[in-house]
C-alpha cells in the first residue's frame, strides 16, 4: 500500500514536469498551428542556459528561471520573425519540415558549443527529500511541480483575462476578424512563439535539476510533449496539466505492474486511443 502511494506521488510529480514541457508546444500548436518539432531542442537550450547561469554565475536554478525564460523568449521571438513567419501560411507539411530542420541544426550547434558531455544542475538541495510518513517527497520535483502549476494557472489567466491573451485567442479563432479589430498578427505570432519557447526554456531549467542534460535530449522530449498535448487537448492550458498528470501516473503505474519497458508503450498506446475516441483531447470538446 505504501509502495502504491509512493508510486502515485512519483507519477503526479513527474506529471507536473511533463506538463511544463508540453505547455509551450500546445500554445504554439493551438495558436500558430505549428507543430514545433524543435520544441525539445528549445527545452535543451533552456537547460543549458540555466546550467551556465548556475555553474558560472552561481545563480540558483529556480531563482534563475525568469532569466532563462527571458533569454529564451528573445530567441523564440527572433526565430518566429526571421524564420517561421516565412511559412506561417504554408501547408502543415512545410512547418513540420522546417521545424524538423531547426531541431537538427540546434542539436548539432549545441554539440559544437557545449560538447557531448553530460551536465547536471546540482545545487546542494536538489537531492534533498521530505519524509512524510512512509512517503518520500523529493524537494526538486516538488518545486518543479509547484512551478508547473503556477505557470499553468498564469497561462490560463493570461489567455482568458488579458488583452494580449484575448488577442492571441482571437487570432487563433479567426484571423480576419482579429485583424479588423486591430490585432497586428506578425508581432502577435512572434510574441506567442516567444512565450512558447520561454515556457520550453523554463521546462529545460527544471529538467536539468532533476535529470541530466546533453545536446540529444530534445527529440524524446518533443515526442513526450506531443503526446501530452494530444491527450490533454489544445483548447486550454488546464488540459495540458491534466494530460501531463495522466501520463506521469500512467507511466509510473505501468513500470510498477507491467514492467519498465512498457512505460512508453502505454503512453503512446493511450495517445492512439485518445486520437480515436476523443480527438480533441480529454478536456477538449467532444468530436
Amino acid at each position: 500500500m505504501d509502495l502504491l502511494a509512493q508510486i502515485l506521488i512519483n507519477g503526479i510529480l513527474l506529471g507536473g514536469l511533463y506538463a511544463v514541457m508540453a505547455l509551450g508546444l500546445a500554445l504554439v500548436w493551438g495558436v500558430l498551428n505549428i507543430v514545433n518539432l524543435a520544441h525539445g531542442a528549445f527545452i535543451m537550450l533552456g537547460a543549458y542556459v540555466s546550467w551556465y547561469l548556475y555553474t558560472y554565475a552561481g545563480v540558483d536554478p529556480f531563482l534563475g528561471l525568469p532569466i532563462t525564460a527571458m533569454v529564451m523568449f528573445v530567441i523564440g521571438y527572433a526565430v518566429q520573425r526571421g524564420l517561421l513567419n516565412l511559412i506561417v501560411r504554408a501547408p502543415m507539411f512545410n512547418t513540420l519540415l522546417i521545424t524538423f530542420g531547426l531541431e537538427v541544426v540546434l542539436t548539432y550547434l549545441a554539440q559544437l558549443a557545449f560538447s557531448a558531455d553530460f551536465r547536471t544542475i546540482n545545487p546542494s538541495y536538489a537531492g534533498n527529500s521530505i519524509q512524510w510518513g512512509p512517503i518520500v517527497l523529493p524537494v526538486a520535483r516538488l518545486l518543479a511541480f509547484g512551478v508547473a502549476i503556477a505557470l499553468t494557472v498564469a497561462m490560463w489567466l493570461l489567455l482568458l483575462h488579458t488583452r494580449l491573451g484575448r488577442a492571441i485567442r482571437a487570432t487563433a479563432q479567426n484571423l480576419v476578424a482579429a485583424r479588423l479589430y486591430g490585432v497586428e498578427p506578425r508581432h502577435l505570432y512572434a510574441v506567442t512563439f516567444g512565450i512558447g519557447i520561454a515556457l520550453a526554456g523554463t521546462a529545460g531549467g527544471l529538467y536539468g535539476t532533476v535529470s541530466q542534460i546533453n545536446p540529444y535530449i530534445g527529440a524524446a522530449l518533443t515526442a513526450k510533449s506531443f503526446a501530452i498535448s494530444i491527450i490533454g487537448g489544445l483548447d486550454n492550458p488546464l488540459g495540458v496539466i491534466v494530460g501531463g498528470l495522466f501520463l506521469g501516473i500512467l507511466e509510473s503505474l505501468t513500470s510498477l505492474y507491467v514492467g519498465s519497458t512498457f512505460a512508453d508503450v502505454a503512453s503512446f498506446g493511450v495517445l492512439v486511443l485518445v486520437l480515436m475516441v476523443r480527438p480533441n483531447g480529454l478536456l477538449g470538446k467532444a468530436a
Binding site: D2, L3, Q6, I7, N10, L14, Y108, Q111, A116, D117, F118, R119, T120, N122, A126, G127, N128, S129, Q131, V136, P138, V139, A140, R141, V210, S211, Q212, N214, Y216, A220, E251, S252, S255, L256, G259, S260, T261, A263, D264
Partner: protein, 402 residues
Amino acid sequence: MLKISGLTALLFAAAAVTMPSNGAFAKDIVLGASVQLTGPVANTGRYYRDAYQFAIDKINASGGIKVGNESHKLALKLYDNQSDVNLSVRQYTQLVSQDKVDFLLGPFASNFALADSAVSEKYRIPMVQGGGASDQIFARKFKFIFGTLAPASNYFGSTIDMLKGLSPAPKSVALLYADDAFDVSVADGTRPKLKQADLALAMDERYSTNATDFNSLLSQIRSKNIDVVLVAGHETEILNFVRQAKSLAVAPKMYSFTVGVPSEDFRKALGKDADYAFGMTAWLPSAKLKDRWFGDAGQFAVAYKAKFGYDPDYHAASGVADVEALAQAVENAGSIDPAKVRDALAKVKFDSLYGSIAFSDNGQINLPQTVIQVQGDKLTAIYGANGLIAEPKYPMPAWNAR
C-alpha cells in the same frame, strides 16, 4: 597571366604534398572505422577516435610496420556514424567496397559491433573492435571479428566475488538492465553467478534504453529493502538513477554500474553524489603494463591526457589495443593479405598497455574485471583477480548521513 601562374604554382605545391615524402616507405596500410562523433553516444565515441589516431601516430613515429623488407605507415579512414546503427553499417560497407581499406577497426557499443561485424564477415576483412563486449557478437562463429573488451557476461563477476566477503553480508540483490545487446548479455551472465553465490535475486527488471525516470524502480528497491543494486545500462541512465536515488533517499548497502564510474565525465556530472558508487574496469593505467610503442600504460595515460585534455579510460586503452593487435598481426603474418592477417590475429599473443592480448577461439579477449569505487574524489581499485586490493566503503551510508 598572374592568375594562371598562381594556379600553376598551387598545382605544383599540391603535387609536392601528395608525393610520398619519404621514399623508404611503401604504400600506407589503411585502417577504416566508423565511430560515433555526434549523436547521443558521441561522448564515448570520442575515446575511439582519439585512441585510434593516437596509436597510429605513435606507431608511424617509431618507424611504422615492417612487412618483409618494407616499412609501411598506417593511415586512418574514419567516418562519423552519428550514433546511427544503420548508417554505421553503410559506412563499413563503403569503407570495404569503395575506399578499399586494408583492415577494419570497430565502432563503439555492442549493438553497433553486432551489426557491423556482418560487413567484415561478408567481405572477409578482419575487424578488431574494442567497443562491443556483448557475448552475442562472438556467438555466431564469425571468423573475421576480434574483440578486446572483456565478455559482457562477466562484467559483474569480480563484483559478485567481492560481495561474498563483505560484512554485513548482503542478502538480496536487484538486477536492472537496459534492453540492448550489451546489457542483456550482462544480465544473462550475472544471474547464474548470483545463484552460485547464494544471493537472492529479489528484483530482475529490464527497462527501455534511454529511460529517464527510475522513480518506480527506486521506490520498489526501497520498499523491498534491497541490499545490493546492480545496474547494466548507459551513462545517461546511470546519472539519472543516482540523482533520483538521492532525491528519493534510496540508499542500498551498495550499488554498482557497468558504465560511467571509470570516466572522469561521470564523476564531474555527479560531483559529491558520485561517492560510494561501485563499477568495474578491465584496465587501470599501471606502470606494470609494458608496451612496445608507448613504454607502459602509465606513460600512455599521461601522454593521452596531455594531448586530448581528458583522462583515458578502458575504452581508450581498448581502442589502442585494437590498432596494436592489427599492427602486430600484420608483422607476424609478413603480409597484408586479409586472410593471412586474420590467421595471425587468431594466434597473436603480446603484452600491451591494455594487458596481455590474445583471442580465444570465438575471437574475444578474456580479461578479468577489477572492481572500482568512487571514494571521495578518487577512483580506488577495490577487488581484482587476486582478491582484495583496498577496503571498500561499505555499507553505503544514508544520503542525509553523508
